[in-house]
Subunit: 258 residues, 3 copies
């Protein structure tokens, strides 16, 4: 009844309803490839996205945000500096932030910068298996990594893993077409950020549960979308509609968390 | 018969036909989130978009444009400089330009820059209610603001207002899903710019009427799209199709201008 | 039987199957307008896109790529420098690269930079008629141009031309809606790049045939998409689905190469 798995499923239904009601502001430092899809996924969920990466503007935008996503795609010097400012400001205003170390397996510069940011204790790190393997050289598994870095790992792939070092759940929702649409990972990170923002207000907030809930929301929406899609083009449209229409019954009946 | 409302409705039907025929070039200085959707909306309308923001290239692109949109999203120093060059060049070649002061309510830097640009007399300012409230501190209403700054205000929301200080109309078209798709405001500004470009050629050109026509075109397309959409994902697709298929009968039968 | 036209048609069917199997990495230096659509088209084809343009990262990304696209949209000084690095690195790792000189007819800076890059011998140049007219002042036709610059010309429009100076084919597939979706040209260049990457592995590799195959793939997908689309919005979705579902029968029965 109160098994951790059930906590995540219950949180997914609860948070979808509360995001729509509260409309959290989520600021995303993300690459230009991912911006429009991520913004539309957040809007469909009921959140309010903002996306500026300009050095002069990042602080006031994060100051008014309820959560922050730092995605390392298309990363140049100026954007790295803007990330540092954004993370510092999120700390000041106590907004949770999510790190998305996209493609760290392709560039040592990115991997090094990701390590620096992990030292600043993101509330969650959302990444895929190849990215985790690059960052977690010293650690064998997500549990050790989460403990060492005092964060929640949201590892996504055919099966998702959510681990805060004390609790670990696996989520088996989603569809293969999710890997055929650009920015799906970034959208996952943004949904997790919106969930963290809202969960924060609860008496017993719990970033592990909120991170898992975010991944359940996206995975279930992916399944609903796949049932109607004819390929990755229509899937990208259908998943936005599915996020917009998601309800408690669909989430609790479809969620597969163990 | 010649009521101002009817002028706007008639202009919407007229301008849709003439944009398709004349294919005006619309150059958009806009944020990276909005670029693809805005370009696709302009193409669907029959216009030809260009989007470069590079300092070295902005002058030749604007020199060959029939209208210009300045959208303040994702604004850094270099882009501000490029905006100044673009506005100056538009003046030289007598191309109308539209200011879209997106999110000025979130950043004082943007608000200050928007005020500077308003001093350069945009042909129209397309913005939402929160943005207007930030910019119009000294003025109580759109009429005063339009008069003081010698421009046309195109205020968009549940109801749109078009005001040039002498005439004021309200437009009650559109659908709630329009606020769930990123870049819809930027697309509105771009459609207004295309209408201003074409209206300019008329013997009795009238930026107030052309701005209102642009908002009617988008609002009616939004209603047509909403009738087929299942959520914001399919709505964003349907509104592009609707713009592409829009005809006089649909516009004149659906337009609600008072 | 072994007519050059048949070679292109056969290659289109062969390369679609092999791209799905081999999943080539295609790095695109492209403008921010085109990034998401291009990435999604490559994913639908079965390739793996990457898109960073950051100076510090471009070399390691291209080093791990199987092909490179250089698209000149939204071009500033830093991006020009990154292009130079990318082309040099592609040479080192023997990855084929495609030049897409978008809008060179609008800016002399771009045209000059395109000429510099053509001097570096791209494996193919994918461009439209207006862009070709700007670059080919000295040469009368695609044959002369291809010979002089030792490259393959992939000229796209109502009819496509593929020319390497020794062989010339025309492709009459596609649909008028292709010109109503932004970034369709960039997607064409990216598909050609994926085909060049895979063709390279063949014993008898042939960039002319691979370029033609890429254009046939896109053109046939465009026809399949047009049969289901209601306008450019749904067309952009349908063409991604069509690329994903394309098979030998559809390609060989629909390809029109002479």
């Amino acid at each position: 009844m109160h098994a951790p798995q059930n906590e995540i499923i219950e949180a997914s239904a609860e948070l979808v309803a509360r995001v729509r009601e509260r409309r959290p502001h989520v600021h995303c430092m993300t690459n230009t490839v991912a911006q429009a899809f991520t913004a539309n996924m957040l809007l469909a969920l009921g959140a309010i996205p903002s996306m500026t990466t300009a050095l002069e503007e990042i602080a006031p935008f994060v100051a008014r945000a309820d959560a922050l996503v730092i995605n390392l795609g298309t990363l140049d010097r100026e954007r790295r500096e803007a990330c540092e400012i954004a993370v510092a400001k999120a700390g000041e205003v106590a907004a949770p932030w999510v790190l998305d170390p996209v493609f760290v397996d392709r560039s040592e510069t990115r991997a090094a910068f990701a390590s620096t940011l992990i030292g600043r204790h993101p509330h969650a790190i959302r990444l895929n298996y190849a990215e985790f393997a690059t960052l977690a050289r010293a650690e064998r598994d997500t549990t050790r990594f989460a403990l060492n870095h005092r964060t929640v790992i949201g590892l996504t792939g055919a099966t998702d893993v959510v681990d805060d070092g004390r609790r670990r759940a696996t989520i088996s929702n989603g569809d293969a077409l999710m890997s055929k649409v650009t920015a799906m990972g970034c959208a996952a990170s943004a949904i997790v950020a919106a969930c963290l923002a809202i969960d924060r207000d609860a008496a017993n907030d719990n970033p592990w549960r909120a991170t898992g809930a975010g991944l359940v929301i996206l995975g279930v929406a992916g399944e609903v979308a796949a049932a109607r899609a004819r390929g990755p083009g229509s899937f990208a449209v259908e998943i936005i509609d599915a996020i917009h229409r998601l309800d408690r019954t669909t989430l609790t009946s479809r969620a597969r968390v163990t």
